[in-house]
Amino acid sequence: MRHILRRILFYLVALWASVTLNFLIPHLAPGNPAQALVGKMHGRVAPQALHALEISLGVSHDPLYIQYFQYILNLIHGNLGISVTYMPTPVTDVLAQELPWTIVLVGVSLVISFVIGTILGIVVVWWRGALMDTILSPFFTFLSAIPYFWLALILLYYFGAQLGWFPLHGGYDADNIDQGWTIDFILSAAQYAFLPALTIVIGSISGWMLGMRNAMITTLSEDYVLMAEAKGLTTWRVMTSYAARNAILPNVTQFALSIGFVVSGSILTEVVFSYPGIGYATLQAVQSLDYSLLQGIFLVISIAVLVANLMADVLYVILDPRVRTGKG
């Protein structure tokens, strides 16, 4: 229990650090959002208008520490400022609109990729040294080095632009279908999500597979596995109940960690597919110098990652008795 409490304390410190970074980075950079916006309009703005803009964007000229406390106070009240991209929508509304898309897309891909990758890892060890392993392992090495977004470009080019099987951008057929829980909408969304999901699965599957493979090989050389074999148990039982059961531990922890990255998703993949999620919003925020939206996105991602890390820690204590007894 003390172990968990210490971890929670640590994550609180990390949360504070990320909030502070989030505050400091824009303030240490030259200029402010209002000036940046004016710069985009080539400076043709009257001083009064600039002042009005500064007020609406929450730019203040108070000393830094006062602004810092105001920022924290705003955060506690759930006020993340106003998005320039979607003027005058509050950042929280933008986030609430974009988040579900990313969570569903990346969440589903994550589960698929985890299951297939882990099973592949077991299978490859089963036939170690056979053709399967000698071909699959280098192939997956190559796969893991491919930049996600490039894979997305290739898939989009071939299946989208050339064959025309899948749409080129968007999250659903916005011209003909209304957003809502109808069968038409879900089918349309699934069709639009297929290629992005495929990209994420292909891009991340090798990590699960190679991780499981290495863990399996290490576990298989343990004495208790040898003992199980010597007792005359079937290979199936040795592989599943003895080896895989223990070898899967690092992968499960990794899975818990990955849940945190579901929110940050695959920023670049979403950008390529113009998929209406957090990643695409990030790009738009970068392009339109939407500082509050960028800060909001980073904050949400940080919180998700920290919570997932805490979950992974707790899960580890539950799954691995050695951690429990070791730390008391």
């Binding site: 640590f10 994550y11 410190v13 990390a14 650090a17 990320s18 970074l21 989030n22 980075i25 824009p26 950079a29 030259p30 200029g31 036939w127 170690r128 040294g129 056979a130 280098p138 090495t141 190559f142 893991s144 080095a145 491919i146 930049p147 977004f149 490039w150 470009l153 290739i154 080019y157 632009a161 050339q162 290495n214 090989i217 290490t218 298989l220 050389s221 040898l226 074999e229 010597a230 945190g260 990255f261 940050s264 920023i267 670049l268 390529v272 990030t282 790009l283 925020a285 970068v286 392009q287 110098l289 500082y291 960028l294 996105i297 980073f298 991602i301 940080s302 990652v305 920290l306 890390n309």
Partner: protein, 318 residues
């Protein structure tokens, strides 16, 4: 039991420089990886001297598919993609390796100091390391890169170094902790050597191979992240690197225009280089952890023999 003879049988993955040469010559993965990385290094070093055309120069051959005149095709402005690729290799390689090395230096210093001194120094450094470890890297890099007024390779490099050093530092700290109480280190301490000398001349040389493996991983990360940031348009679009070629391809709708050649080569080169580096890394892993490369045949025979022994014992005693 025929366990292949290796110099590094200690589970602590302790390796020395001399083993690095052995890896090169004995492990096939390492060899293939070195050839790939070597190829790109040569192209980056000497390639630009052979490029006679200006890669930024527009020509009349707009958006042409690969042909004898333009081996990798042309862009929408008629720029030769092969020329861009060769010139771009230099910037991409320099950035990947440069970012990797600087990141690694920070990791090594933080890890060594933190692991060796212990106490409050370790507490503080570990806390900072762990905080950076849990902060989401790419979003933080985007946030930083977006706010820096000067856009260009240098910004990208600094941003990636700031966000990327924590993992290596953690590994180095763990390694240093296990090294701190070795006899040789104790002896050096007893003979009155200064702490700095002990850290850099007694402990560090023993960690060179791990540093090398970490460095490879960091370079892969740097190349992928750098390309990603460039693709998002966070670098200077006038310089030429693989990521920036991809950025222009994306910006000019190469996809809908059917210009597959525009984005095929940069991505393929990144993937190849990354795979080459990863192969070297896996090779080092296999050498450090002999279990990973034990042949199935060996394992099977060994198991059969043991099984027979156990069964014989069971029959004999029962």
């Amino acid at each position: 039991m025929s366990i292949p003879s290796v110099t590094a049988t200690k589970p602590s993955r302790m390796l020395r420089l001399r083993d690095l040469w052995q890896m090169l010559t004995q492990n096939r993965k390492v060899l293939v990886g070195v050839i790939i990385v070597g190829f790109f290094a040569l192209v980056g070093l000497f390639g630009p001297f052979f490029v006679t055309i200006d890669p930024g120069e527009p020509s009349k051959d707009l958006l042409q598919a690969p042909s004898a005149a333009h081996w990798l095709g042309t862009t929408q402005q008629g720029q030769d993609i092969l020329a861009q690729m060769i010139i771009g290799t230099r910037l991409s390689m320099v950035m990947g390796i440069g970012i990797g090395i600087v990141t690694m230096i920070i990791s090594v210093i933080v890890g060594l100091v933190s692991g060796y001194y212990g106490g409050w120094i370790d507490e503080v450094l570990s806390l900072i390391t762990n905080v950076f470890l849990v902060l989401p890297t790419l979003p933080l890099a985007i946030l930083l890169a977006a706010f820096v007024a000067y856009k260009g390779p240098l910004t990208i490099a600094v941003v990636l170094i700031v966000t990327g050093w924590s993992w290596g530092a953690r590994v180095m700290r763990a390694q240093t902790l296990s090294m701190r109480n070795r006899d040789s280190v104790e002896a050096a301490r007893a003979s009155g050597e200064s702490s700095l000398r002990i850290i850099f001349f007694e402990i560090f040389p023993n960690e060179i191979a791990i540093v090398a493996a970490q460095l490879l991983g960091t370079v892969i990360y740097a190349i992928l992240a750098e390309t990603g940031l460039e693709f998002l348009g966070l670098s200077n679009g006038n310089s030429i690197s693989w990521g920036i070629i991809l950025y222009w391809a994306g910006n000019n709708d190469a996809l809908t225009l059917g210009a597959w050649w525009w984005f095929l080569s940069p991505g393929l080169c990144i993937a190849l280089l990354g795979a080459g580096l990863a192969l070297i890394n896996f090779g080092i892993d296999e050498i450090a952890n002999p279990r990973l490369r034990m042949e199935r045949k060996n394992l099977k025979n060994e198991r059969k023999a043991l099984k027979k022994q156990v069964q014989a014992v069971q029959k004999g005693t029962l």
